[in-house]
Amino acid sequence: MTPGPLLLFAFLTLATGVVVGVRLSRTWLGLTLAGTVSGLSAALMVLLGAPDWEWRSAFSLGGEFVHLRLDGVSALFLVLLCMGGGAGAIYARDYWSEHRYPDSAPRGRAWWSAMLLSMGLVLTVSNGLHFLIAWELFALCGYFLITLDRQRREVRSAGWVYLVASHAGTVFLFAFFSTLAARTGGWDLGPMREQTGLAPLFWLALVGFGVKAGFFPLHIWLPSAHANAPSHVSAIMSGVAIKMGIYGIVRFSGWLPVPSAAGWVVIGLGATSALLGIAFAFAQNDFKRLLAYSSVENIGVILIGVGAALLAVTHGDALWGRLAFAGALLHVWNHGAFKSLLFFGAGSVLHATGTREMSKLGGLWRTMLWTAGFFVLGSLAVSALPPLNGFVSEWLVYLGLFDAATSKGPAAWAAMPAAIMLAMAGALAMASFAKAGAMIFLGAPRTQVATHAHECGMWMRGPMLALAVVCVTIGLAPILFWPVVARVVGSWRPAWITMEAPAPLLTLGAVHVGLAILVLMAAAWLWRKAHANSLRRGLTWDCGYAMPAARMQYTSASFGGIVAGWFGWVLQPERKMRRPRGPFPAEAIRLERIPETVLDRIIGPVSVAIMQVSTSVRRLQHGRLQFYILYVVAGLIALGVLVLLGGAP
């Protein structure tokens, strides 16, 4: 039994899903699940030691023979894809249901299958031309999924920003792949580490894939797109789609030789994204934007690991590189799991209240206990707190960095700052998610919508439960996943293939299990103890204030205020303030908005400048024939001059 048939089956089911999805929702769900499950099993088969699977077609597509390949790296991401795709499909059944969105729900199903299909192809094709095709299709599906709710203007503009940003990235990939083809004389891809001349191409790939991965400062499209998309789409975009960028970087840094500066740059980008991304997240008031920025942070964490690995490659295959890289790979899965979980949670809050502003929510735990629980779990995981999965992967990355530091090679100069920034990012992540969870679920409802919230249905809770289970499992038994990671590391760099589990991984798992048990026991015990002694309910003692109102609670803006102040230089918050005046102050306002700095402060002015050029050029088309003929003459003269210049023999 090879992965081939399973993949074929997955392909067929998903392809039929594209067609029937428009009509039959149940059949579609069945097909999608079947497809994802079989894809998942194929990937696991490879990860658990089956040899790489490779297939070349007899027919040619676009003038090239189809060449599929499923090796460790592809399989790792394929698992993530199937996980996210399946969960999202189930979640969407209620969340983006037929009767709430009669026109866009069918489209949504078709595009969903198309998205899974194209991403699967991105992961498996091994031919530059077909890779580009699959990549573009996947970007396009993403666009149409983000803009499912086309009637809303802000959705459309967010989608447009995503579309053009991803096209900008694709342009770099055009350059990358055609240069590759021009240099190697063919579109076929595969390991070509020995052709050292190809090393500079890494920079093209880094930018091209980086836009999709959304590391700072190429993340401009990410916050608005993830915030405005339907939540199951946000989940797959953030959990899976941006990982395609990581896949590209990992894949081609593994197949092609990399310039010696690559490691430094990547680790630097990673650290920057981690710190700034989470700083932006902490300052947000829109909880989906917060989640989006936290994705930027996690991409940063992953890139720190990848960068450390690249450094290790250029420093004589140092061992610490493997640990960091393993951590990064594991974090790809972990982030996929807990970020999808969080977006699902956010989705059900949105579904119940219709608002994304935390300052309008509060006290939801009473009505949405399940969602609250899952959200807290996700928060713990994303804040890399033991005993959950987030900590495991970051722990591995840390170990790599520490070893790099203790090795005292030049790499330490990258490792030490990276470790410190990672620590700060971790603390900020903890703060952000403490804030998010508390603002949404704790305290008193700040508005009516929050009071009348309701728990989401089984179809939405199920996927959350599944993902939560994944988070807990990886957290409690990391050792189980080591062989997988080791396999991938091996297929990334054959030199690293022999790699036994770092001993403490088992201990860590044991400690985590113990911790989990103790935590539960202690909580239960204290709860019972509190009840055993007398337990009274009373109004919050608000410093003796008689009638505390919901409006008096700490808001997300004030919660983030301190850090927003520290990072003011990059956050550039826009404040609107009217202080209370006079003996009987009428109204006092304090609004704070955190713009997307790179977009507003850098891309904005540049595009304005370009538009000015365009307007001035368009003035030349003023309708006066005389000038049109003058242009012809001018062209004549210019070309003549050009020829004369070139004509000098």
């Binding site: 330490a412 403490a434 508390a438 700490y554 919660f559």
Partner: protein, 302 residues
């Protein structure tokens, strides 16, 4: 078998000795102020009383309000279990346990902050915000300190890291870690543990609405944390590695006492900082640790 014994003994030590420190600090402060002050064992009495007392729960609070302190206490005690006790070593030590320790502290912080936000009171919100925000700088400082230790000793597990040959950076490290200790345990000049002006507080204001056993858990956890940091500081600085067990143990106890007393002295001679100055001080602490790291980098070359 003796693993269990070891565990029990350690637990006992930690749980029994930890509450001593705040008592000592208060005694020192009282003496300096020329008062008699509360007995050194005051905290034990308080804990015992609180443990028997009933609980008042805010109408808004969820079960998390009680679970938070419990989890935090477990996390802190777990961290304490990872912390080696001089010659006795630690009960289980593995590569990277130091990171686990740091993140357990973070877990504890998350839970206290969470529990604080439960009541929806503006004051607790304020306290939690301050706690998590200042933690960012504190974490940076701690990681820098840990890095310097591990660069110096070429290891990533506490037992080996914490028995250094007195590195040149020991002084810097001491200064940095001491400041972090003050910040993390909400002592003056960062916080005033026994004022009643909530607006000026971090930790106290977070636990404002807690009562009974949960409050007991929080207070005890805090004392454990204090002891933890004191031990970290002492073992990071004192070159107890080579010396005989008895000497080492003595040095350890003495060191902890010194730290505690100096905390008390600081509290009696310094005023609490204005909040906008706090980041400055923390950054200074971070820089101390950073320099310690650089010194370790240079010095540890041989």
């Amino acid at each position: 078998m003796n693993l269990i014994l070891d565990l029990v003994l350690r637990l006992a030590v930690w749980m029994l000795l930890a509450p001593l420190l705040p008592g000592i600090i208060n005694k020192v402060k009282a003496r300096v102020a020329g008062r008699r002050g509360p007995p050194v064992l005051q905290l034990y009495y308080d804990l015992a009383k609180l443990w028997r007392k009933g609980v008042v729960l805010s109408t808004l609070a969820s079960p998390g309000f009680v679970a938070g302190p419990a989890v935090a206490w477990v996390a802190l005690t777990g961290a304490a279990m990872l912390m080696p006790l001089g010659p006795a070593g630690s009960i289980l030590s593995f590569r990277g346990d130091v990171l686990l320790l740091i993140y357990l502290l973070a877990l504890a912080r998350f839970c206290t902050a969470w529990a604080a936000m439960e009541t929806g009171s503006a004051f607790e919100g304020m306290g939690a915000a301050r706690e998590v925000s200042y933690a960012v700088l504190a974490e940076a400082a701690i990681i820098a300190a840990v890095l310097s230790l591990s660069v110096q000793t070429g290891s990533v597990s506490l037992v080996t890291m914490l028995s250094p040959s007195a590195g040149a950076g020991a002084v810097l490290l001491a200064a940095g870690l001491f400041t972090v200790l003050l910040a993390e345990n909400c002592r003056v000049p960062f916080d005033d543990p026994n004022t009643h002006l909530e607006l000026t507080m971090i930790h106290e204001v977070m636990v404002l609405d807690h009562s009974g056993p949960p409050l007991a858990a929080i207070l005890h956890g805090a004392s454990v944390k204090l002891l933890l940091f004191a031990l970290l500081l002492v073992q990071a600085v004192l070159p107890t590695g080579k010396s005989s067990p008895l000497v080492a143990a003595g040095a350890l106890v003495a060191g902890v006492l010194v730290v505690t007393v100096s905390v008390g002295l600081v509290e009696s001679f310094l005023a609490r900082l204005a909040f906008r100055r706090v980041p400055l001080l923390l950054t200074t602490a971070f820089l101390f640790c950073l320099f310690a790291l650089l010194v370790a980098w240079k010095g540890g070359a041989e």
